[in-house]
């Protein structure tokens, strides 16, 4: 560590500082801030991660199976069947949360499903519920970000949208194009070709080319894999880019092939293996989504999509002096006012709770008093009763004693008479 001597004059100071900024200083010993990533890592691991994944596509394209295969859990199981097993008349947006743990790292995974998408005869505006959902999550985050107390900020924004394209072999359908055009600026779209075991490799290649051509033609911005400084990673990224959109096959049934247990689909003419790179692009998708680019997806959502939303929302507010928004969010007030309001809210809440508790307490007290009175009465009654009993017995006893006395008297009288008689008898002899 080299020490910069403090120059006396201001200009020299500024010059030195500017000079320092442009140069990377070499360290002459081990300081230890290379340990920063580890600290970040440890803190993050303790905090756990969140990730929200949205799956969109017509029913019957294997969305639920793919989710189960990706995360190796039965999110949709026979006990809780996925939305595909229930026919929907209108498009719904459903969320399921699952907590997965691996190697000490926790991931709170939220899957947003859109059953009924594209299934009706008239599918105009079937993307509207999806857009509304994404916007509402952004708004929640915006509101929680603007609060004064920001200790807990759950991130429920949709980080990635997997769009399932039906494997027709021809090109994108008008519905696909419309949906992607409306959502590419709100969420990271990753287009996937579903049920890729329908197509032969040549058909698949042609189909992918056709789709990419149409995507560029309609100026749809799908999720772009970032370029890095690392050569190795760049090669990998390029490989992924060449194979977009990814053709996937999902399955959770295990089949034995050549003495190996693999996940796949058993046909009379062979087994399509899910994790075989030559059969489908499932492994690429999984690696990309979970192992390498999950954090990047979250970052892009945060830095690009969310910022777009935020600037649009705030610009709409500050453009007119009047608040345009239908629901006045707390972000329109200054922090102090906000604090006051929060305090007042809190206080009223506390008061209410206090009152409630007092009421409950009084009620309880009354009850108790009543009970005590009752038992007192009861006791008194018993007391009286016993006293009466006692007196009765007393009287009885008195009665018996008198009887006894009487008998005694009688008996004594009799004895005296007998004695008198005996004496008389002796005297008269």
């Amino acid at each position: 560590l080299s020490v910069v001597t403090c120059p006396d004059s201001w200009e020299e100071h500024a010059f030195m500082f500017g000079f320092c900024l442009q140069q990377e200083k070499l360290l002459e010993g081990y300081v230890g801030f290379a340990n920063l990533p580890n600290q970040v890592y440890r803190k993050s691991v303790k905090r756990g991660f969140e990730f929200t994944l949205m799956v969109v596509g017509e029913s019957g394209l294997g969305k639920s199976t793919l989710i189960n295969s990706l995360f190796l859990t039965d999110l949709y199981s026979p006990e809780y069947p996925g939305p595909s097993h229930r026919i929907k008349k209108t498009v719904q947006v459903e969320q399921s949360k699952v907590l997965v743990k691996e190697g000490g790292v926790q991931l709170l995974l939220t899957i947003v499903d859109t059953p009924g998408f594209g299934d009706a005869v008239d599918n105009s505006n079937c993307w509207q519920p999806v857009i509304d959902h994404i916007d509402s999550k952004f708004e929640d985050y915006l509101n929680s970000e603007s609060r004064v107390n920001r200790r807990q900020m759950p991130d429920n924004r949709v980080h990635c949208c997997l769009y399932f394209i039906a494997p027709s072999g021809h090109g994108l359908k008008p519905l696909d194009i419309e949906f992607m055009k409306r959502l590419h600026e709100k969420v990271n779209i990753i287009p996937l070709i579903a049920k890729a075991d329908t197509m032969t490799p040549e058909e698949c290649q042609q189909f992918k080319k056709q789709i990419m051509r149409e995507i560029t033609e309609h100026k749809i911005q799908i999720y772009e894999f970032p370029e890095t400084n690392d050569e190795e990673e760049n090669k990998m990224v390029k490989k992924i880019k060449d194979r977009l959109p990814l053709a996937v096959v999902g399955s959770n049934t295990i089949i034995v092939v050549n003495e190996k247990r693999v996940r796949g689909r058993q046909y009379p003419w062979g087994v399509a293996e899910v994790e075989n790179g030559e059969h489908c692009d499932f492994t690429i998708l999984r690696n990309m989504l979970i192992r390498t680019h999950m954090q990047d997806l979250k970052d892009v959502t945060n830095n690009v999509h969310y910022e777009n939303y935020r600037s649009r929302k705030l610009a709409a507010v500050t453009y007119n002096g009047v608040d345009n928004n239908k629901n006045k969010g707390p972000m329109t007030k200054s922090p102090l006012a906000q604090m006051e309001e929060e305090r007042r809210e809190h206080v009223t809440k506390m008061e209410k709770m206090e009152m409630e508790m007092e009421q409950v307490f009084e009620m309880k007290v009354k009850e108790k008093i009543q009970k005590l009175k009752d038992s007192e009465l009861e006791l008194q009654r018993r007391h009286e009763q016993m006293k009466k009993n006692l007196e009765a017995q007393h009287k009885e006893l008195e009665e018996k004693r008198r009887q006894l006395e009487d008998e005694k008297h009688n008996w004594e009288a009799q004895q005296r008479v007998l004695e008198q008689q005996k004496l008389d008898k002796i005297f008269t002899k």
């Binding site: 005869v121 008239d122 599918n123 008008p174 075991d197 490799p201 046909y267 062979g270 087994v271 399509a272």
Partner: protein, 341 residues
């Protein structure tokens, strides 16, 4: 059937077992004392049919990408679909449902068949698919109308060209779950107008278990909605027909795979699709039910399809038209007619 009332000659050439049902089925037939040669009439009919040839019109309906054109090519073992007849353009999805008919004459064993494949691009591909079956319905009725006009003419042609749709193959998407709303609506509206044969397309998507379950569910749904697909229950002639048709009805809808490429499998050249994990053989009954569909459609029920179209669907249309207009005026030879048609 109404057919038994019309003279035999008016109907199209076809091979019937007993041309005069009234006479053929009478309990007390007189025993012949020698060989007369009545049974050679079958041979005479056959010769006439071969010379005249016959037409067959098949319509294929389903949203794009289900392999309709490939399947039709495979069925008739030649490039008969729209894509192959010089259509070099891109596969653009049209904005409304179009009807495109392509005709070919194919010959086999001396028998000529004029096959017309009617394709319906744009069906079910839009975002809003309300009433996308209307153009199809209109087309079918137009063909009936054309035939009716010809029939009512004073100076009729000896052989009226038959452009009526004899069979409609409806392609069901192999989602594995159930029928889509559009499928049900289409079949409800059109099962009374034309013979519909539902077919599960691209069935190499599904494993055998999924296939059976899906078929079962589709059949139940069709039943629930009262959709009568061909072969219809009500048109079975006798017990023999009924048994045969029952067996077919149990196996429908057929799960098919189409392909026009050949591959080597075990030293044999077969039509199929080559994937990284195996070759799907189109004509292997363990792999898919294409062979069943082909036998059913072409080898056993081709004539029946035409008959049902003529005797039932066309007659229904004709009766309705006559009732609506209170009588038809025949068209004069030079077509200066002012009939209620």
């Amino acid at each position: 059937m109404l057919a038994s009332n019309l003279p035999w000659l008016l109907l199209h050439s076809r091979n019937r077992q007993s041309p005069f049902p009234g006479l053929g089925h009478s309990g007390s037939g007189s025993t012949l004392l020698g060989y007369i040669g009545i049974d050679t009439i079958i041979e005479q009919m056959r010769k006439k049919t071969m010379k005249a040839g016959f037409d067959f019109n098949i319509m294929i309906v389903g949203h794009s990408g289900l392999g309709k054109s490939t399947l039709v090519n495979t069925l008739f073992k030649s490039q008969v679909s729209r894509w192959s007849s010089g259509w070099g353009g891109e596969h653009k999805i049209p904005k409304t449902v179009e009807i495109k008919a392509v005709s070919h004459v194919i010959e086999e064993g001396g028998v000529k068949m004029k096959l017309t494949v009617i394709d319906t691009p744009g069906f079910g591909d839009q975002i809003n698919n309300e009433n996308c079956w209307d153009p199809i319905s209109k087309y079918i009725n137009e063909q009936y109308e054309k035939f009716l006009k010809e029939e009512v003419n004073i100076a009729r042609k000896k052989r009226i060209p038959d452009t009526r749709v004899h069979c409609c193959l409806y392609f069901i998407s192999p989602t594995g779950h159930s029928l889509r709303q559009l499928d049900i609506e289409f079949m409800k509206h059109l099962s009374r107008v034309v013979n519909i044969i539902p077919v599960i397309a691209k069935s190499d998507t599904m494993t055998p278990d999924e296939k059976n379950e899906f078929k079962h569910r589709v059949r139940k749904e069709l039943e629930t909605h009262g959709i009568e697909y061909y072969p219809q229950n009500e048109f079975d002639d006798d017990m023999e027909d009924k048994n045969e048709n029952d067996k077919i009805r149990e196996a429908m809808p057929f799960a098919v795979v189409g392909s026009d490429k050949e591959f080597q499998v075990n030293g044999k050249r077969v039509l199929g699709r080559k994937t990284a994990w195996g070759v799907v053989e189109v004509e292997n009954p363990n792999h898919c039910e294409f062979a069943l569909l082909r036998d059913f459609l072409i080898r056993s029920h081709l004539q029946d399809l035409k008959e049902v179209t003529h005797n039932i669907h066309y007659e229904t249309y004709r009766a309705r038209r006559l009732n609506d207009n209170g009588g038809l005026h025949p068209i004069s030879a030079n077509n200066t007619q002012e009939s209620n048609l």
